[in-house]
């Protein structure tokens, strides 16, 4: 089975990730997921691709910490985090978060917390590639 926390160039499958999440426990009543996708439009410009750069070791370590923190904070039965790097086309998947708990509220809350924290804490940078040129994205706090 693939690691619960990964940084990879290739796309991922929700079925595979949710399947892996569910193998951990039959007491999982609720599974929440979040998938971030590359939008084809950003601040008035048409985006054809997004390119990602990551401080790989630290990014993976931070994602692993996030998973452990979320499991403790929301009493999850399991959680998974996958982030792609390299070049991703418009409309393609970028990031995947899954949280499984006995009940729905903690699963949904954990999923929201994880994607918010990931954006704050994981050293990954995106560059939008447009017909008018490339631009590194400046996050809006």
């Amino acid at each position: 089975m693939k690691d619960a926390v990964r940084i990879q160039r290739e796309d991922f499958s929700q079925d595979e990730e949710v399947g892996a999440l569910r193998t951990g426990s039959k007491r999982m009543g609720g599974i929440a997921t979040f998938t971030g996708c590359a939008r084809d439009f950003s601040e008035g410009r048409e985006v054809t691709q997004i390119s990602f750069d990551a401080y790989g070791n630290m990014a993976l370590a931070e994602m692993r910490k996030l998973r452990v923190e979320a499991i403790a904070k929301f009493e999850l039965l399991d959680a998974r985090i996958v982030h792609r790097v390299g070049v991703v086309g418009a409309g393609e998947q970028i990031v995947f978060i899954a949280a499984g708990a006995a009940h729905r509220a903690p699963a949904l809350q954990a999923c929201h917390w994880l994607i918010d924290e990931l954006k704050q804490r994981v050293p990954i940078w995106k560059k939008e590639i447009t017909a008018q040129g490339d631009e590194w994205v400046t996050p809006h706090p």
């Binding site: 990551a54 401080y55 970028i94 994607i115 994981v122 940078w125 995106k126």
Partner: protein, 79 residues
Amino acid sequence: MIKVLFFGPVAERVGASEVQVPFRTGILLQEVRAQLQESHPAAFEIVCFTAVNGEHALDMSLPLADHSEVVFMSKFSGG
């Protein structure tokens, strides 16, 4: 030697993803930073975070060991 890494927009402004800074006993993180900032001021305008050996470093007076890995990073924009 101290290995300094740059990623994303900082790497673009530096024009490199890695530079080496000579090690000397007692060298502080802030000295490495000051030296690089002088040669790459535009890059350091957007630096928000510093990591030493894969951990966030908040104290710029940290003394560095030889072969340390230092990273000056702009705000993250993953996800």
